[in-house]
């Protein structure tokens, strides 16, 4: 279980040991989605991809 911080509101985010890259975890305080990244056992998180909109203009 890795303990990380929300990239928006700094609240603690718990990521389970067996989490795998690409999994989405939500911050429990502000709802921000993060994408889990596991590299040689090291767990980190990045902001999750946003809905892609191609509105033009």
């Amino acid at each position: 279980m890795a303990s990380l911080n929300c990239l928006v509101c700094r609240s603690d985010i718990e990521v389970e040991e067996q989490a795998s890259t690409g999994e989405i975890v939500e911050c429990a305080s502000c709802g921000q989605e993060h994408e889990v990244q596991v590299e040689s056992q090291l767990v980190s998180i990045a902001l999750a991809p946003e809905i892609e909109e191609t509105w033009g203009e």
């Binding site: 928006v8 509101c9 609240s11 911050c27 502000c30 709802g31 946003e50 909109e53």
Partner: protein
């Protein structure tokens, strides 16, 4: 409360031939726990209900129920849904109240309590005696009060605006001066309108810039549930669309309040509410097209510096009226909040 034979609760709709009445009929007709036993219309009395509603053309077994005049209301109903024009229910409320456990009212009649404001915006409410009690009810924020016979739902533009401001006001995050620029489709005015299709079509124009009666309702509702009061400039515009509302609120964050505080306020207020979809992450913003035909409110808040833009979109006839009323009834009768309100069409695009 008595359930009818077959175990379903008996429901009546007053003003059932109008836009919101038709939607309520459609929703109740598919609801697992209700059965519609009475639908009023003055002009269509005697005509079969399922032959009138466009919404019933795809029904395989049309019902034999016919419209009745409101004065023919008789017997007992578990719930009466009133979709009369504002000002009509107060005239008959004493009698109607005797026939039911609850009146779920989508009109404006019992949304305010201040006598002066009532006199200005809803004079009929004052002019007619009603010795029961009533309750202003937004499903997501208000306590269920089973002692009140009239459960009055919020106004459609009012509630969209409240969704944009509630977390900000409840947490006391913003300066009092707030501006809401609301845009609405044409069904918001009901089936009787003098505005021609050819005039509304291909246009965008102001509907009411000052003095809209949803303004005191919003200010009142926020005051009830908030740490702070707001001083609202509320203006409404007309879209060339049949359905849908967007309310866009502009506020300034108090000194020291951050974008993360705003996110936390919205998330904690709305996470877990089945029909409130707060866009917690990033770039998505509420649209009208994706809420039309659903009971969902899309909500987002976007901060830059101290400036906060918060937006909510709803379908005025569903989350703004008929769907909201059914959601309330579900809660009052102890049914799942989403019963009869999930539409598999959600998500069709484009």
């Amino acid at each position: 409360m008595t359930a009818s034979e077959g175990g379903k609760r008996r429901a009546a709709i007053l003003g059932g031939s109008g836009f919101t009445g038709a939607e309520l009929y459609r929703l109740l007709d598919r609801h697992p726990e209700f059965e519609v036993a009475f639908v009023s219309s003055e002009s269509k009395a005697g005509f079969p209900v399922d032959k009138y509603f466009i919404g019933s053309i795809h029904k395989k077994k049309p019902s034999s129920l016919k419209f009745s005049k409101a004065e023919e209301l008789d017997g007992h109903y578990d719930a009466i849904f009133s979709c009369l024009p504002t000002g009509q229910l107060p005239k008959i409320v004493q009698r109607v109240a005797q026939h039911t456990n609850y009146i779920f009212n989508v009109s404006g009649d019992y949304r305010l309590s201040d006598t002066e404001l009532l006199q200005k915006h809803y004079p009929e409410t004052l002019q007619h005696d009603y010795d029961g009690s009533f309750h202003y009810f937004i499903p997501e924020f208000c306590e269920i009060d089973r002692s009140a016979k009239i459960v009055n739902l919020p106004g459609c533009m009012a509630v969209a605006t409240i969704y944009t401001l509630y977390p900000l006001a409840a947490e006391g995050l913003i300066e009092p001066r707030v501006i809401t620029d609301a845009k609405t489709g044409s069904s918001g005015g009901g089936k009787s309108t003098t505005e021609h299709h050819a005039e509304r079509s291909q246009n965008f124009r102001a509907h009411k810039l000052h003095g809209h009666r949803h303004r005191p309702e919003i200010e009142h509702a926020l005051a009830l549930h908030s740490k702070q009061s707001v001083d609202l400039q509320f203006s409404v515009f007309s879209l060339d669309l049949p359905r849908g509302i967007m309310a866009t609120s502009y506020s300034y964050l108090k000194d020291g309040v951050t974008a993360a505080d705003v996110k936390k306020a919205f998330y904690s207020a709305y996470a877990g509410k089945p029909f409130l979809h707060y866009f917690s992450s990033g770039s998505s913003t509420p649209m009208i097209k994706t809420v039309v035909g659903t009971n969902i409110a899309e909500i987002g808040a976007y901060v830059e510096g101290r400036s906060c833009v918060s937006i909510a979109t709803i379908d005025n006839l569903l989350k703004g009226a008929a769907g909201q009323a059914l959601q309330a009834a579900n809660l009052y009768f102890g049914y799942p909040e989403e019963a009869g309100l999930q539409f598999n069409g959600e998500g069709a695009w484009p």
